[in-house]
Symmetry: C2
Subunit: 295 residues, 2 copies
DNA sequence: CTAATAGTGTCTTTAAGACATTATGAA
DNA sequence: TTCATAATGTCTTAAAGACACTATTAG
């Protein structure tokens, strides 16, 4: 088994010793992160619960290309680590955030997505409860800021001509930072015929987001919306001890709609273990605190 | 806007003109495909419907490394195309298959996954109804063969010590080719603590599958199982005109279990439009033929 | 007491699971 | 006529949607 020889008469050991990389053009592989958190707005009324908002972390580009535009935090993959490890490392370096949930999103590979050279982006979703965050930007970023996320599906158009079915869905993204509001538009096209199938995003208006990051962000929100209904992913956006109402708020900001309390609890309370702690000092009936149920 | 200058006083145009790539090590990016089809077994009894099997296409490695082992078909991404286009191109070149459903699966980036050098694999799932297939291997493959797929989840073990929750699930893969049976074992580990979350596959026994392809294949089957229940992905494994029983068989081989007819039809017939065609010459009552409903 | 949320009960509607029954065509 | 599948009906069980009602706290 060890002594198999290839067409040139080489064993595997000999082949590897003589192997030289670098005769082909290779891409750079960037790792970009869509870091979401659920942040509470300031509260005005001592009785009322604070509202939550979905936030995403963007960094201001400090160099070309897209100088001055807002970008997802990220960096380049290195040969000693997986892309996931690279994401964790960059997260730590660029923002100081450590030890949070990471999930690979998609690899974007449009050849012209970076004007410098051939750069693929292996993108990740990162989720953190806002108590873990003390963002201190360093390195490549002039500025890092949490933007609130408003996401809307605003139109769908289907056609079916000559056996080619096409559906185009438009999405609007409104990101509100401290002093700036970014508005991006992205569309998603599904095209099918008996000669294949195609599913692609395209940017209608980047809204001052760098590269194809409006697309990556759209993709991330759609993923989050999809997975929140059938996984425990939402628990990553809630502190260690949380109330079911807080969990419901997280579902609401991800799905972009209000949910009804009783059925929400019936459906999702299986994710949580009751503890004997309760909230207090809230001007209304205290609430039982739960924690993640390990499953 | 056009005349922003960076810290070195360069405009974007000047920066791009002076930009030189190649000062960092870059990975090669392979595109590997898990090509599934639903194939009918030979029929013995003229009255009975043929049974279906899930098959995957593997090619025998004609060179080092893993000479003689079986591998997923694939190739290297090129700078003029997206990875999806690369997948479609390789599919055509290596197997002659054209115009079928492609979906990005995952990017595998374990630094040592290829003994030659740093190679990431951007993997794709391809689905084709068996009527579209006339596989003629070329190029890099001594042989290409359809292997039947049997996939079992065979054990799950959970622990929760010192605030670190861990769940390990074992999977067995049995791939039966013309003269060979490959048996691989893969495990999936989910590990979580307040200091982060990790989700990784590892190969226990590669079963003579090259590289980390046992892992990629496992990942592909899990994806397929997950998506079949809430998308129309199964329609890609059925011919243009199909009976609801054929569609049910596709669900059964993907999920690895029998389904009950009436509830299956209630749940999934919304995917299909009835036509006025029927099957015939089958030794029993003819069946209405359906086609994909465009949605 | 009041204003707010917590937590639960219940009625309705919808979907899933499990079978059973009738329909139909080729040999 | 027979065998095997097609197609649908129905009973049961479980879950989702909608809303109402009671409980409990800080001020």
């Amino acid at each position: 088994m060890k002594e198999l020889r290839d067409r040139n008469g080489l064993t595997e050991r000999e082949y590897l010793a003589s192997y030289r990389s670098g005769d082909y053009v290779k891409p750079s592989v960037a790792v970009d992160m869509v870091i979401f958190t659920a942040m509470e707005k300031d509260n005005q009324n001592y009785r009322k619960l604070p509202e939550k908002e979905l936030k995403v972390l963007l960094v201001k580009r400090g160099g070309h290309p897209y100088l001055g535009a807002w970008a997802l935090p990220g960096g380049f993959a290195q040969p000693t680590e997986t892309t996931e490890q690279a994401a964790a490392r960059e997260l730590k370096e660029e923002t100081g955030i450590d030890g949070i949930y990471l999930e690979q999103l998609y690899t974007f590979s449009e050849p012209m997505r970076d004007p410098r050279t051939w750069v693929m982006s292996c993108s990740y979703i990162a989720l953190a409860d806002s108590s873990k965050l003390n963002v201190n930007p360093g390195d490549d970023a002039d500025d890092a800021q949490w933007f609130s996320v408003e996401f809307k599906e605003n139109s769908t158009r289907s056609s079916n001509i000559n056996g080619v079915f096409e559906r185009v869905t438009g999405y609007t993204l409104v990101l509100e930072g401290k002093n700036e509001t970014l508005r991006a538009k992205v569309s998603r096209t599904v095209r099918r015929s008996d000669k294949g199938s195609e599913n692609s995003f395209s940017i209608i208006d980047s809204g001052n987001l760098a590269f194809d990051h409006a697309m990556i962000l759209t993709c991330a929100i759609l993923r989050l919306r999809g997975k929140v209904e059938y996984t425990d992913i939402a628990l990553n956006l809630v502190p260690e001890f949380f109330t079911l109402t807080q969990l419901q708020q997280v579902y609401e900001i991800i799905l972009g709609k209000k949910l009804i309390k009783a059925p929400f609890r019936r459906k999702y309370s299986y994710l949580a273990d009751p503890t004997d702690k309760t909230t207090k000092d809230e001007g209304h009936r205290p609430s039982k605190l739960f924690r993640r149920k390990w499953m």
